[in-house]
Symmetry: C4
């Protein structure tokens, strides 16, 4: 089974998620700068979620450059990932509209964590579909960032539960860590002349 | 006529349907876990409809791997299917906002049934376009799941009319039955080396 | 300049237009069948606009199978068409929410007319880009349907201005006329083995 | 790394932005022509933003016809551009709903300026990824329009701050200037037979 249509569908879903979040930004009631300032929290949480979706798109893009074979399990593992990502507009809006209250911050962290686990499951579904000689398996290697991120999310969730907004420090830290694109895969593709 | 643009357009529509449903999830009024709990019904019905759209995308994807020739009738049969699927956000939201009242549950079941019949008509439009030697016709075979599903939907609709929410047991059962990807087509593609 | 990205972008816009219209369908307030009946007008106008967008997608699809060369003017003529089509959700919703009042019916007709003229301009931009030997020019021929439709729209607009809802008879008639896919182009493609 | 998926994702995001803006157009309360007249400002600002997104899509399309190599920096520079463009529905709606008040007009101008700078950064990320012999670098040349536009935006922003709506003259002027497609790139592609 080819990957092109899976990629096109995922691009579509990610493009929609990243764009509809802006629909949740409430247009300010008044026309002054102070009225816009009320949207600052919304703007920053939107930016954070935009960056997260961007990271997932980037990594998804890098990952599938190394995938040659998929099966039905990969299709569903991919939909499972898209499901958690599609909840970002919801959990972002709740966090924003409650002015960063604790429970919504916890829920946002759980959403981040669930997406990370879904990505991990997708990787492993691909490993299985491609067999022991799969390119992705070799390129990913030990995957330190992928293993550290869930731990930081858990710290962030606990912080959200006891202290509230400081959890955003952890959530932002993981995003910053991933903003650096996945050089492992990128260089693996370049070295082996695999870009198709 | 090639299938690539039909597939791209369908991917676009399905990606949008699956993502805009989350816009119907109301952000909770308060910031506590109890406030989120009020969204549980919405979350579960969203999940069910997400899985249904995922199933249709999966089967559509498998089906068109075996299609070589389409005509104008196939284009319209495909749009007809997309029409019924595009009503999922509407019927899901109505079911959710009325806390699973009987009539909305009946209407949701009718929507599921109409989509299943539209899928059946699409298959047959393809059969006709490809002639008696079409790959899809041979791969699909007797199609037990495709014939049993509408019957279960009808049982679900009747259950909705007399008992309300237990209808969801039937609607969920069909989804679970299809979650197992269509191995017939998948294995047919693999055996005959047809994945293009 | 290749046509693939123009086609992909147009597919995206048309897929979104056709799907967001369902967001304008108001979920009924109550849970009974009578409450749903209030949505009947909305449902029928949605169906009509869905069919119109489907017709434009079909004809666009057939048309670009015969196009080999485009230029900047074609890109803008295409965006001009997409602009008028993107107003369909707006004019459909206004018509629906005013229970088919005269002015909204007139405006809907003008929207249909503007889209038809934009399609005509797009065809001629392609003729010019491809020169006198363009395939599309030869395949389209006299284009009776394309010339009759604007006339019927004008009759519909006048009817809307003096009598209101009977205008829908004319608007529906044009849609029905086009539902039959453009056999001219389809058969031209088939005869000349042009499907790329 | 190939450009096809970057182009597909960007097409998706731009298609959504250009279409969801129409969701911000409020359906008139009444059914008379006067009620529609209240939407005139909304309609014109929507048209302006539609044209701007169309310009970005056109130039993006022309640009990537000349791009052969991208890297992770280009992916993020592209997402950065899409971020600013995704705020157009928000800043357009604010400008419209405040009946062209000064601050929203300033913010709209800043949004235009930020998008222009992001486009500039994207160009330079591509220059770096392709090295000194990149086609795009040679085709773009001195880029007078690209350098003049930000200056006009700044004049527009200052005008908005002191005089309000006349700023739209400047914002519209830049759009008009770009409506003429980028003949430099188009002719470069044609002369060198580069359209792939």
């Amino acid at each position: 089974m080819r990957t092109s249509r899976l990629e096109a569908f995922s691009d579509g879903v990610l493009a929609i998620i990243i764009t509809i979040m802006v629909l949740e930004l409430h247009v300010p009631e008044g026309a002054r700068l102070e009225d816009l300032a009320d949207s600052t929290t919304g703007f920053l949480t939107y930016l954070l979620s935009f960056v997260y979706i961007g990271i997932y798109w980037n990594n998804h893009h890098h990952m599938f450059q190394l995938v040659r074979r998929i099966d039905g399990t990969v299709l569903w593992a991919n939909l499972h990932l898209l499901f958690w990502l599609s909840l970002f507009p919801f959990s972002t809006a709740w966090m924003d509209e409650t002015d960063l209250a604790r429970t919504p911050l916890v829920v946002y962290g759980i959403n981040l964590l669930a997406a990370a686990l879904a990505y991990f499951l997708l990787e492993h579904a691909i490993f299985r579909a491609e067999g022991p000689d799969g390119l992705l398996r070799r390129a990913i290697g030990r995957d330190v960032k992928g293993k550290v991120s869930p731990l930081i999310y858990v710290v962030g969730i606990l912080t959200a539960a006891v202290a509230g907004w400081p959890a955003l420090v952890f959530y932002t830290f993981v995003a910053a860590m991933w903003l650096i694109p996945d050089r492992r895969l990128e260089s693996y593709v370049a070295e082996h002349g695999l870009s198709d």
